[in-house]
């Protein structure tokens, strides 16, 4: 169970958050439990709100991995090239940050929406 402080207007609440899997979260506010579904946008950002998951836009083969774990990247710099639809598609960083984890290697076959890289 993760505890976070949330302020709404003037009042502050201590909120407990637990991941239930299946994109569901258990949230505890004022000793009341709520189960909520994580929206598609929120799913791409991890709980801390600091990480950004880079996913494959379409199925294909990884042709180049240009970064390693721990690398600093600029916004817009190329992270990976994905061979798909007869093209070498460049996957770029949507923000500046540090590469937390590279989840794929060269020649991997990936599905659409598969996680490629986690940035932080």
């Amino acid at each position: 169970m993760k505890k976070v402080k949330v302020s709404v207007g003037d009042s502050e609440y201590e909120v407990g958050i637990e991941e239930l899997g299946n994109d569901e979260l258990k949230i505890i506010v004022d000793n009341e439990e709520h189960v909520v579904k994580v929206s598609e946008e929120a799913r791409n950002t991890e709980l801390s709100g600091q990480n950004k998951i880079i996913k494959a836009p379409m199925p294909g083969i990884i042709s180049q991995v240009l970064v390693n774990d721990g690398d600093q990247v600029e916004k817009g710099s190329t992270l990976i090239t994905l061979l798909a639809m007869k093209m070498e598609n460049t996957i770029t960083a949507p923000m500046a940050g540090k590469v937390k984890e590279v989840k794929v290697k060269c020649n991997d076959v990936v599905e659409a929406e598969q996680t490629l890289i986690i940035l932080e």
């Binding site: 579904k37 379409m58 639809m85 007869k86 093209m87 070498e88 598609n89 659409a112």
Partner: protein, 505 residues
């Protein structure tokens, strides 16, 4: 005369407190919006003294009944419009409010002048019950009758919920302002009550959602001022009605060669680039005005001019999802092409498309049904249709975007064009599957076969069959497009008499 001026002052007055609230929200009043949109002092207000009839609402009634209607000019061309006034019963739509709107819509259709709706209202006026609902029914019917006769533009500058959201959807172009406009059929309250899902106005139906995901909005602007300017700009490309010519600009154009074009498009066909740079280079300087900029970015649609003549541009975007066709991209193209055809705007395709996006999602969500709209729209269109094949034109996507036999008047290809059923490697693996299994050196065998098949892909094969009319040096693109369009402008083509086709919706 005293009575007249007193009434007029009353009709044009605003509740002070309501205005202050609007200013705080960064919103203009309905009257200010009209004044900023139209040419100076051109507005003529109609039905200023109309009032609601519902007995229960007599205390709240106000001259105009929450909507300002009338006509005026934009760049000296007649337009009809209405603007809902949020300060009068929340801009809600009742019987007389609807009647005023319908009156100007009919005038617009009969005069053959563009119609502009400025929505900012709470939706149906609950107290007026069925009269309010039927008000929407009458508006939807008028929208439908006017469709294809006059351009209909809709600005959603506040809430636009329930039935109100369908009128914009029936019109040709929807404009929204970021973080100020919201559209939805069922609001956050109803969603919470029925499904338990928590969602706010912005995440449910904000401008950003509708311009990126749902495709409801064609334009998203940062503030109201920019939004009104965008409407004026769009009208510079559109004819007033389906029988009149598009407005031409009168700027001395340089029809120059462009050495730049060959550099924009990489020699290596696997490398991506931004197709909008090619469009900018080929069309009149600064004339490209993108429609649906943030929706289905793998295809690009918009208006531009070629030697001052407005054209509709459709293009594949290699830098997004390899420029492949998919469901949203198909919907985006089909809608745009049908609008252009209805209003006699010639269409130019910039083709670089590897094919349709493979995957169960696409198949199950109906790419066959949606992709069919593109074929229907192009085959049905009688306006001049030009296809420029830059690099890839594969499979069904070639048929949709560049096939002479689908009805393109002129197909023009760069020497880098590749036209085939599928990529050579994929084709070799299918055609020579058995031989390859038997081959000693599989990779050498494959290489040899790919080389042979590559010859079939060249634009000269298509040119030998007359399926490509012209093969050109990329630097001549602008010259050739201007000449081709000039040659086609007087095109006349009939269609068999029928009530209407059955578009695969």
């Amino acid at each position: 005369m005293e009575e007249f001026y007193a009434k007029k002052r009353k009709a044009e007055s605003y509740d002070r407190k309501a205005i202050d609230r609007r200013r705080k929200d960064g919103k203009l009043t309905a009257r200010e919006r009209i004044e900023r949109l139209l040419d100076k002092d051109s507005f003529v207000e109609l039905d200023q003294f109309v009032q609601l009839r519902q007995p229960e609402l007599q205390e709240k009634k106000k001259y105009g009944d929450g909507v300002i209607t009338g006509y005026g000019t934009i760049d000296k061309r007649l337009v009809f419009l209405y603007a809902q006034d949020f300060t009068v019963i929340g801009g809600s739509l009742g019987e007389m409010h609807a009647q005023k709107i319908i009156k100007v819509m009919r005038l617009a259709r009969k005069q053959g002048a563009p119609f502009i709706a400025i929505n900012d209202g709470a939706g149906a006026r609950i107290q007026e019950g069925i009269s309010s609902l039927d008000g929407y029914a009458r508006i939807f019917r008028e929208n439908t009758l006017a469709s294809g006769v006059i351009p209909q533009l809709c600005l959603t500058l506040g809430p636009c919920a329930g039935g109100a959201a369908y009128s914009p959807a029936l019109m040709d172009f929807v404009f929204m302002v970021d973080r100020k406009s919201h559209m939805f059929i069922t609001g956050p309250g109803v969603i919470k009550a029925t499904t338990g899902e928590d969602v706010d106005f912005e995440a449910l139906g904000g401008a950003s959602v509708h311009s990126t995901k749902s495709g409801v909005a064609h334009f998203m602007l940062d503030d109201e001022g920019e939004c009104l300017q965008a409407v004026r700009k769009l009208l510079t490309y559109l004819p007033s009605n389906n029988l009149s010519d598009s407005p031409r600009t009168n700027i001395k154009q340089k029809i120059q060669l462009s050495e730049n074009l060959a550099n924009i498009v990489p020699k290596d066909a696997k490398k991506t680039y931004d197709i909008k740079r090619v469009i900018d280079e080929a069309c009149d300087r600064g004339s490209f005005f993108e429609v649906h900029e943030h929706f289905a970015k793998n295809v690009v649609t918009g208006f531009a001019r070629l030697d001052n003549v407005p054209v509709g541009v459709v293009a594949n975007q290699p830098s997004v999802m390899a420029g492949c066709m998919d469901i949203d991209g198909s919907d985006k193209i089909a809608r745009f092409v049908r609008f252009c055809d209805a209003f006699n705007i010639p269409i130019i395709n910039f083709v670089d498309v590897p094919g349709y996006l493979p995957g169960t999602n696409q198949e199950h969500d109906g790419i066959i049904r949606h992709g069919a709209k593109v074929l229907f729209a192009y085959a049905e269109a009688v306006v001049p249709k030009i296809a420029l094949i830059i690099r890839k034109a594969y499979g069904g996507a070639y048929v949709a975007m560049a096939s002479k036999d689908l009805g393109y008047d002129q197909v023009i290809a760069w020497p880098s064009a590749e036209i085939a059923v599928m990529g050579s490697e994929q084709a070799a693996r299918i055609i020579h599957r058995k031989e390859m299994e038997a081959a000693k050196d599989k990779s050498a065998f494959l290489k040899k076969k790919v080389k042979e098949l590559n010859k079939l892909v060249s634009p000269y094969v298509a040119a030998e069959l007359g399926k490509v009319d012209l093969v050109i040096d990329p630097k001549e693109t602008r010259q050739v497009l201007v000449r081709t369009l000039g040659m086609l402008l007087r095109k006349r083509e009939g269609r068999p008499a029928k009530k209407h086709g059955s578009v695969p919706l």
